[in-house]
Amino acid sequence: MAKRYVSILLLTPALLLLTIFTVGPLVYTIYLSFFDWNLISPNKTFVGLENYAELFKDQTFRRIIGQTFLYIILFIVLNTGLTYVTAYVIAHLIKSNKGFYKVAIFTPSVISLVVGSMLFLWILNPVSGPVAIVLGWFGLSIPNWTVTEGMVIVILSLIVAWKVFGYNFIVLYSGIVGIPSEIIEAAKLDKISKFRIFTDIIIPMSSSTGFYILIMTIVQGLQYVFTPIRVVTQGGPNYYSSNLIYHSYHEAFDLFNTGISAASSVITLLIFMFLLAMQFIFVERNVYYEN
């Protein structure tokens, strides 16, 4: 039937592009993860699961896995937790200026992360930056965070949070506004506290939006933070600001260990596919509840 060909025709360009530049490469990266190769040499040596074994033996890599989870926790707190609360405050606890607040909060989401990294590098400069100067008035100071283990990850996550906050906020806000207002008005009349309204009504009733944001924050945050890592620290000090995404890049294009890089990417892919499965199961289960 002619109609069927039309639908195939319409889908072809998108499917073709995704096959060539996404699915094909994905398969080839899995293949590369079983080889020892330096990106240039004409010969690849088959090593089986050696690359994976080497990664898990490597202390640096175990540290990087740990740092990746630390990033994930920070993203959840900053870009889901804090954002959720902000969306609730603007949706239900204040009445005026909402339009302006929304537009202003979203603004950094359109700005390049290279610009963001550059600006925060200067704003948080421990000697001459404005934050250091203001803290100086109170006798306080900022440590040299770009080389301070532990602190560096927090600041790099803050740079990403600065950019992502607005986007997550808009999506969560519309999820919260979608909750029938009678329910919330009734709860307010019953003198239920603002905190309980948030935890017992808002979160459960906007949970599929919330869960979507939670998952996307992890998946995109780990990739977004590549830029501040590359621009500000190059993974340092001593790989303490690196994560799985940055490590794959570093192994492939700084050290030319293609197989190790591919193996590290495949591990990242498995984590992301697990998150996708969670998302799928959660949305399937909750779609009836919310509608």
Binding site: A14, P25, T29, I94, I111, S112, M118, P130, I133
Partner: protein, 271 residues
């Protein structure tokens, strides 16, 4: 009651200051003399006001060429992605075929693939065709992106289906249904998706970083990276000037189309 009311406003205003201050910081310092930038850091009003940073920037890097590269790359990526996404979203909304749900699910799944999984093979493809350090080397792999299909499908689902089905029964061609019935209704979503694609491509860093070698083929974010140094501050105000130029176009587009963009993202939560 009153006090808590002010408290919430103040909290939100603090967030807004954190969001907006870096932008003001960049604009302000880009018009300061280097000495002023370090002696009156807190003061946001440049005194005296100077254009010398922009001039020095122009003398240090091929600024016009770099801005043009960024514009050309972002425009071509936007044009291709918006057309392919629109066509695919149309097929997935208004046609019924076997494995439609599976196709949609697989397409959306590709959003969860980290860029590191595709970067080595794509690098090899581009270098095989000798496109490294070229505009097309930057553009081609980025055309594969399912997020637009997702956003436009959401918008098309809001059009009453009987309207389209009636037209299909009347044997109106697919092209005419698109042009006369679908396009006018999804135009706001299409506009904001296009603006969003443009901003994403304009800001992109990772792929240009792998592709571009010579300064003449750089994009703005890549050029900005040349000015990063946490130690020596001699380029500070020039770096601020380049930051302002890099963020100007996305900010202007956002301010013009903010209502469209915010509405589109409001409806983009997975359902």
């Amino acid at each position: 009651m009153k006090i808590s009311h002010y408290f919430w406003h103040i909290l939100i205003i603090v967030f807004i200051i954190i969001a907006i201050y870096p932008i003001l910081f960049a604009v302000s310092n880009s018009f300061k003399h280097l000495n002023d930038a370090f002696t009156s850091t807190i003061n946001l009003i440049p005194n005296p006001f100077t254009f010398e940073n922009y001039q020095r920037l122009h003398e240090t890097i091929p600024l016009l060429k770099i801005t043009l590269n960024t514009f050309v790359i972002a425009s071509i990526i936007t044009a291709f992605k918006i057309v392919t996404s629109f066509l695919a979203a149309y097929a997935l909304t208004y046609f019924n075929f076997r494995f439609k749900k599976t196709t949609y699910f697989l397409l959306i799944s590709t959003i969860f693939i980290p860029f590191t999984v595709t970067m080595i093979p794509n690098y090899l493809i581009i270098s095989h065709f000798n496109l490294i350090d070229s505009v097309w080397g930057v553009i081609l792999p980025q055309l594969a992106d399912a997020i637009g299909i997702f956003m436009l499908t959401q918008a098309m689902r809001n059009i009453p289906k009987p309207l389209i089905e009636a037209a299909q029964i009347d044997n109106i061609s697919t092209f005419n249904i698109m042009k006369d019935h679908v396009l006018p209704i999804v135009r706001p979503a299409l506009t904001s998706t296009a603006i969003w694609f443009f901003i994403l491509a304009w800001n992109d860093y990772v792929w240009p970083l792998l592709m571009l070698r010579s300064r003449d083929s750089y994009t703005l974010p890549l050029a900005l990276q040349l000015f990063v140094s946490s130690e020596g501050g001699t380029n500070f105000t020039v770096a601020m000037a380049l930051s302002v130029i890099t963020m100007a176009i996305p900010l202007i587009l956002y301010l013009i189309f903010q209502r469209y963009i915010i509405n589109t993202f409001s409806s983009s939560g997975i359902k």
